[in-house]
């Protein structure tokens, strides 16, 4: 439970603990996820994947597979139209269709272990599996490279012969570095010259997977008239529809995507993998085709986040004031360009009010799956370095780790490296809450340590649509277009009910398919409750306006003389006249005779999103004989703007914290010398289990975002930014050694302790 939440008295639904409208189906097994759709005549699709990290495809022979009884279709890269390659200049967001089609199914080369080379559809899963064995692929194996620093070396194997580094003048040799992105503010060199203390460190992190429990799953159903239906577990069916149309050369209007319930995404279900294959197979077989990934495929073939090397140098005055910050980020993009360096640059120092910043980010391709977004994509690796160095500075200067952050905290009016000037922002309040919290003030025992770290995410707005239909008994159907991953239906329904002044239970939220509502952008970037929430409020107010107009007609007054209050149209003032209030259900009942149905709709492109800053406080105990790190206590503080559904806001904070803990301690992609992933399962890709963690405390700071009708900022991304550094700082506090490489697995900790003892002995 939260330590404290401020609830405005006048809010009756928003901010209360409402039971989510989709909950019943999810506790009874009724809810349909990606793999749960079963259609008549449906075929089983399976994908053949490369066992090689890097190889030229000399030929593919599918004839034996096609001849196997029960096999209804086989596709390879040739079954998809090739796409033009984007040419420079490149914008910051890379959407290269040439890359996209090759990531879905290989053409000239395979770029990673697990890369799709062919797919089959058959009448049973076992026939489909057997058919895969009959496909003969002739590979010419090429040398591979995975680590970003190795990939930058002059003799590294080159993935794309026509890729020349952007940002390097006159590059004549192809490079795995796609580009070097730079950002700067102030005069860093001058800042360092004024510094009393400068600390410089290198940090490394390994690729980690989003680890959603539901593997990717979809059903493609193409009919002879060219219409295409797709059922899929995705974070954005509208975005996928548009991409699918492009990749398959189909008109957008012919394609309808329905988003299934989604079993977790965290960014990893933004890209498409199986959908184009299922549709193409279905077009060939004229039957529905279901493709469900195995867990092994999910690890080998879908987006992990970047592994990284980060160099960080920070200079401070003796009082702890940071005067210069300089960083270089080297991020793996996977097989195709597009690592999360832009987000890292935009966020990594942004909870601090700094005058002099210089950042260089390297976007580097290497032989692993193309990275996908993972919760505040790109930022945690950079924050691990920033917060690690700030911790070192605090230690050296003997300043309390929270005080040094207070000294540098961003506030209203601060301008970050991207030029964004902050409105109200609750970081100082947050830090003061940390200091006053009992967790910060309890004593630690031997081998125990406490760490603190902060993190920032800027959030997103974007396009959203919503419709509100007032039914004739006064119940309400709310239609929106964002797949509900973590309870967003509850927040949407709460805002609509609050506006209408009716009980939460009277609103039924529905997530529309792509043919039933206007374009709605991804459930990602913590934009849903902000942007789609805004559309919902606007659509609801539209319906209310109609209600007021109807009441005005009934009373023979002007619409301006009617107000909406507590679910009723009421005279705006005593001067209007003495009319009995008309309820929503009364107005709805009369609607057919008074101009027709009452509905509101909204189509917006939301801007004005507010950033959210979080702070994580962690206690650990380190077993000095084994290097085992036990998590003792974890408290998450975050400025959430306004918690529409406090239960689910807390859940986001707790979940992000524990994902970050896994990233910090044990999760990593492990490759053999052939570049094959050797831990592609939950047994050896070690995500935290229930017995690894205690209860996770949450403290919600509510500094409302003035640009949202209910003050929403967005909450889901920020909680994965601080935990890696917070855990590392806690480990350092326990053993006296800074761990600068993730994961801080027991062998690494033990090695560091041994090296430290050796050094002390010398």
């Amino acid at each position: 439970m939260p330590d404290d939440i401020k609830l405005d008295k006048e809010l009756k639904v928003v901010g209360h603990r409402n039971v989510r409208p989709d909950g019943m189906d999810k506790v009874t097994g009724r809810a349909k996820y990606g793999a749960d759709l079963i259609l008549p005549g449906m075929l089983y699709g399976r994908v053949l994947r490369s066992p090689h990290a890097h190889a030229k495809i000399k030929s593919i022979d599918t004839s034996a597979a096609e001849a196997l009884p029960g096999v209804k279709a086989v596709v390879t890269g040739k079954d998809f139209p090739d796409q033009p390659k984007s040419k420079p200049p490149y914008g910051p967001m890379i959407q290269d269709a040439w890359d996209a089609t090759r990531n879905i199914i290989a053409r000239e080369k395979v770029f990673y272990d697990g890369h799709c080379v062919a797919a089959v559809a058959a009448t049973s899963d076992s026939i489909a599996k057997q058919a895969l064995k009959l496909i003969k692929v002739d590979y010419q194996i090429l040398p591979h490279v995975i680590d970003p620093i190795e990939a930058m070396q002059p003799d590294a194997p080159i993935l794309h012969e026509d890729q020349f580094t952007l940002g390097v003048e006159g590059a004549t040799k192809p490079s795995n570095v796609f580009r070097i992105m730079k950002a700067a503010k102030g005069d860093v060199d001058k800042g360092f010259a004024e510094a009393d203390l400068i600390i410089e460190r290198d940090f490394k992190t390994k690729a980690v997977h989003q680890g959603y429990i539901e593997p990717h799953a979809c059903v493609g159903n193409a009919s002879e008239d060219g219409n295409v239906e797709v059922w899929t577990s995705t974070q954005g069916h509208f975005v996928s529809r548009n991409q699918l149309a492009n990749l398959l050369g189909l008109p957008v209007g012919k394609i309808r995507l329905t988003s299934s319930e989604i079993g977790g995404g965290f960014g990893g279900k933004i890209p498409m993998y199986g959908e184009p294959l299922a549709v193409r197979l279905s077009q060939k077989a004229n039957r529905p085709v279901k493709i469900v990934m195995t867990r092994d495929e999910t690890f080998r073939s879908t987006g992990p986040t970047s592994g990284s090397h980060v160099w960080m140098k920070i200079g401070v005055k003796n009082d702890g004031r940071i005067v210069a910050a300089d960083a270089k980020l080297y991020y793996e993009a996977g097989a195709f360009k597009g690592a999360g360096i832009a987000a890292a640059i935009g966020c990594m120092f942004s909870e601090y009010d700094l005058e002099n910043i210089r950042i260089e980010g390297y976007d580097i391709v290497s032989n692993r799956p193309k990275v996908a977004a993972y919760r505040a994509p790109g930022v945690p690796m950079a924050a691990f370095a920033v917060e690690g160095v700030i911790n070192q500075i605090a230690k050296k200067l003997k300043i309390d780790p929270v005080d040094i952050r207070l000294k540098n905290a961003a506030k209203q009016g601060t301008v970050n490296v991207s030029g964004i000037k902050y409105g109200p922002i609750g970081f100082i309040e947050l830090l003061e809450k940390v200091k006053a919290h009992p967790h910060y003030n309890t004593k630690l025992e031997k081998n125990q340590g406490r760490g603190f770290a902060a993190g920032y995410w800027m959030h997103a707005g974007g396009m959203s649509c919503a419709s509100v239909n007032i039914q004739d008994d006064g119940t309400v159907t709310l239609i929106e277009g964002n797949p509900d991953i973590g309870g967003s239906r509850a927040s949407m329904a709460a805002m609509a009910a609050e506006e209408l002044g009716i009980p939460f239970e009277k609103v039924r939220p529905i997530i529309a398919d792509t043919s039933s509502l206007g374009f709605t952008f991804l459930t990602a970037g913590s934009r849903t409750t902000y942007a789609t929430g805004m559309a919902v409020v606007e659509a609801t107010r539209h319906a209310i306006k109609i209600c007021c107009e109807r009441a005005a007609a009934v009373w023979g007054v002007t619409p301006e003389q009617v107000k909406w209050e507590d679910g009723h149209a009421k005279p705006a003032s005593a001067n209007v006249g003495d009319f009995a209030p008309l309820s929503l259900s009364e107005l709805a009942k009369k609607a057919p005779m008074m101009g027709g149905p009452i509905a509101g709709h909204s189509e917006i492109n939301a801007t004005g999103q507010g950033p959210a800053i979080g702070g994580h406080l962690v206690d650990v105990e380190v077993d000095p004989e084994t290097g085992f790190v036990k998590l003792l206590r974890f408290t998450v503080f975050q400025d959430v703007g306004r918690a529409i559904s406090p239960d689910y806001v807390e859940g986001q904070l707790q979940g992000g914290a524990i994902q970050g803990l896994g990233w910090a301690l044990n999760e990593e992609y492990i490759y053999n010398d052939k570049g094959q992933l050797v831990n592609a399962g939950f047994l050896d890709y070690r995500m935290p289990v229930a017995s690894d963690v205690p209860m996770i405390g949450t403290v919600l700071i509510e500094e409302p975002n003035p640009n949202h009708p209910y003050g929403v900022r967005g909450v889901g991304e920020t909680p994965i930014v601080p935990p890696q550094a917070a855990v590392a700082n806690a480990v350092e506090n326990a053993i006296g050694i800074q761990m600068s490489e993730l994961p801080m697995s027991p062998p690494k900790i033990l090695r560091a302790i041994a090296a430290d003892r050796l050094k002390a002995a010398e």
Binding site: F628, P688, V689, D692, P746
Partner: protein, 289 residues
Amino acid sequence: MDEMRYETPTSVNAAVKLLAGEKGLAKVLAGGTDLLVQMRGETVVPNLIVDIKKIADMKAIKKEKGGFRVGAAVSGAELGEHPELSKMWPGVVEATELIGSTQVQGRATMTGNLCNASPGADSVPALIAAGALAAIAGPNGKREVPVEQIPVSPGKTSLAKGEFVTSLFLPKRPKKSGDAYLRFIPRTEMDIAVVGCGISLTLDKAGTVLAARVALGAVAPTALLVDAAANAIIGTKLEDAALDALAAACSAACRPIDDKRGTKEFRIQIAGVLARRVALIARARALKK
């Protein structure tokens, strides 16, 4: 595709006949928690699966000669629910209960853990330390061997064509005996042992170690019985020097590999750390009896 057959014999002889008569690959199914994973990954594609759970006594835990005979299909959960056995051999039971999740415990068996021949199997070092025997039925009749003779290398056993383990026998305990098992994993659950250590010991009235068996898992191609480690504590009261010698002997016995679960260096070091801790738990248990 060859047809995969499934049989449920009701006698040991019938099972032996099926296993011996199969020309292709025949696999015994008890809990299936290894076999099904291997089948799914297609590392094992049997032509015949012989489900032994319908054979009398495969699900039984019986008292015998002051010890216990545990049928080959007794699950970890059933083992843990047997109070007498848990009291006599707590180390063996706790080791078996560490295999997988609660769900896996509902199916996984000690015999399967042994016959899967994984070097990291949790129950095996505890069984070896306990001096457990494996009863084997086969075309040439029955035989009984110490459990450490069953695994010969990762994934391979000494069982001949047509043979299968029908039960494990845990012998009677002298007074003042105790056993224990610990493993190191980086999480608190759900991992395969990076190192495992099982120790069984018997004390005299003064608390001196009269007899000891020390076994290590995940530090060599098979679980190891480390005589030198036992000798390091026999005749001692597990003073610091004895524990140091025990740890050193365990570390010296390791022949580990670097793999995704741990490094050589780490395994060698942890083997010693665990051995000390396990010996103290086993002693505490022995003192209570």
